[in-house]
Amino acid sequence: MDFKDILKSTEFGIFVAFLALCAILSFATPNFLSIYNISTVMKQVSFIAIMSVGMTMVILTAGIDLSVGAVLGLVNVLAALFINKFGLAPGIGAALLCGAFLGFANGITIVKWDLPPFIVTLGMMYIARGLAMVITKGWPITGLPASFCCLAEGRLIGIPIPVIIMIIIYILGYLFLSRTIWGRYIYASGGNEKATWLSGVNVNKIKILVYTITGFLSGLAGIMLASRLSQGSPITGTGYELSVIGAVVIGGTDLMGGKGSVLGSLIGALIMGVLDNGLVLLGVSAFWQQVILGVVIIVAVAGGSMRRKLFMKGEK
């Protein structure tokens, strides 16, 4: 990739927007650039950002997963339950498996019954959230061991552990999508599902895979939140699906499939997190924050499509 390609890439455009946002905020508020604030923002962003890796893959296949917030909630509860029952490591392992299984269930239903992902994952959203309520009868599960709770609050070489996990997930996600055959298949099936299938690629397996990964990562975020809040609560992650989709879309991934990257989604998640934080620092009311976030999502996507048209004109 040469310099011109980088300038032309969608990710670069979003990155410039992100830098501009940071520049404005650091002038407007004295606290924005402090180490403490940045580390707080990063920690907050990490949960959404981790799920965005999976969501990026799902959207690249022209699918959608509305159940990520609810799966996070259910696994959050299950993690607390399992850890209290079976101990730390087995509990975390079992909870991760549950997350992956819920995603797998999404994928297999979409593929076997040939249903729109929107419908299946909408159903899963209610099922997972409902099950979390059933299990806890609506009450949070507490009494988690201190060793678990310090996981999310701990630091490694000065970086919060959730942020480290996020970075690892992004490196793996990036390598997976850009270097492995499965990554190639994900882009291909999003670009033209039929042609990909006719080339002998088992598109169904690829779809099941991306939903399973998304379920797994939502579960991981759920466990991290359980650790951070030292409890398993059935309402954790309510509405997260929209933030995750927002981050992926701001990051330039095309809802029609085939175009996008995890790098874009990371910047997208950061933009949402920084904006959130900046508006709090500026003393903007929580209600107005939502309005502004909505505008940003629309403007970001509109800007992306305008850039694309501009570059296309330049070529022909």
Binding site: T180, I181, R184, A188, G191, N192, T196, S199, N202, G258
Partner: protein, 501 residues
Amino acid sequence: MKKKTADKYILEMENVSKTFPGVQALNKINFNLKKGEVHSLVGENGAGKSTLLKILAGAYKKDTGVITLEGKEVTITDPKQALDLGISVIYQEFNLIPNLSIAENIFMGRAPRKNSAFIDFTKLYKESELFLKKIGMKKNAKTLVSELSVAEQQMVEIAKSLSFSAKIIVMDEPTSALTESEKETLFKIIRELKEKEVSIIFISHIIEEVLEISDRITVLRDGNYVDTVNSKDTNPRKIVQMMVGRELKDFYPKEEAKRGKVVLEVKNLTKKSKYENISFQLHEGEVLGFAGLVGAGRAEVMRGIFGIEAPDSGEIHIKGNKVKVHSLFETIKMKMGFVPEDRRAEGLILSRSVKDNINITKLPHINFHGFVKQKDEERIANEYCKSLRIRTPDTKQIVQNLSGGNQQKIAIAKWLAIGPRILILDDPTRGIDVGAKKEIYSLINNLAKEKIGIILISSELPEIINISDRILVMREGRITGEFLRKDANQEKIMRLAALRN
């Protein structure tokens, strides 16, 4: 023929031409229609029939020429205007909404109202019944279209045309989906319409029925007007001759390849209402052409063999091994490749690069524990770009930006990458320019020399005749004939492809 007079013809089209980018679709076509006449348009696929009728329907705009309707020159700019002028087209794909009633479909968008906002259903049904009675259809106007057979849906289309008080009804291949008895009913309706002074333009591939129903026949070939004849004064042979009689240029670089062992054997392949008892053998180094008209079932047979839509019964043997599961994963493993007819929808991932498209079949072989060997990927893409002379700035180029011919080469290259023993090409030269066509022909020659067995479907007879070693002809889902290259000519093939004997 006698000199035409303005009042004698309800419709006259004179010197109508239409050019699409790179193609002269119609070149100075003359066509006229008398009151109460059935006038058929015949010609091979791509002769220009559809273009002509789309101009008449207002779907396309003519470049030059004059259209005169009842003595007055008209310019048809859109389908709505064509309808207002009394021209109604019934396309092969009906424009009916299945979950609405017959009556609602007939009066789509112009249902009688009461109190200006509500549909007057009493009146709607009453008026619809009137039109249904006119064509002798005994269905209740409240019946949903989805409950009707294809033939009945067609009758609803005709009723709809009459409700527009159409003076000219164009029927594009109306019999293609009908059974013999349904066809008779349709012909009866057409004859009744004639008596009511409605003029009909009839388009069909089946020459016998054209002769049976029409008063006059106009033949088009490659966008040119050939002749107009009276049905009484002609016969099927003469029509076929007019359809195919074109000169052949030195355009087909056929080279004989050595014919080897049988690579593919198909026995009694059958899929209900698609194809029946298809049996043939394909040898190494052989180019086996499949001739036939659109809808003869050639593509369906190939899709059955490749495992896209599994056949109901029959056997497929690849290199002597029986294919057990009718799945394309299986046939690809057995080294079969398939280049589909619609390369944009099925052959290529347009939004991805040349490199990604060529390597998509190859990825299972060029990875290390799942990680793509990017150097191999690049090397393979470059190799095929060079050997097939794919003109692209580099292998990173998005396929969408390339020309049709280069796209087609990529669609073929991805199968060459697996080292195929059998390659099925479904109309590989469709919509590509003359130069690229010639390159594809040379490529087919070279592949045959490499002992690949090739099946070639094409709608262009000269192409099939000159590129294939052996030709099978299909009509209505069956194989109706076989020729060696030296025995084949367009007339013989067309007769087997179009005539019901």
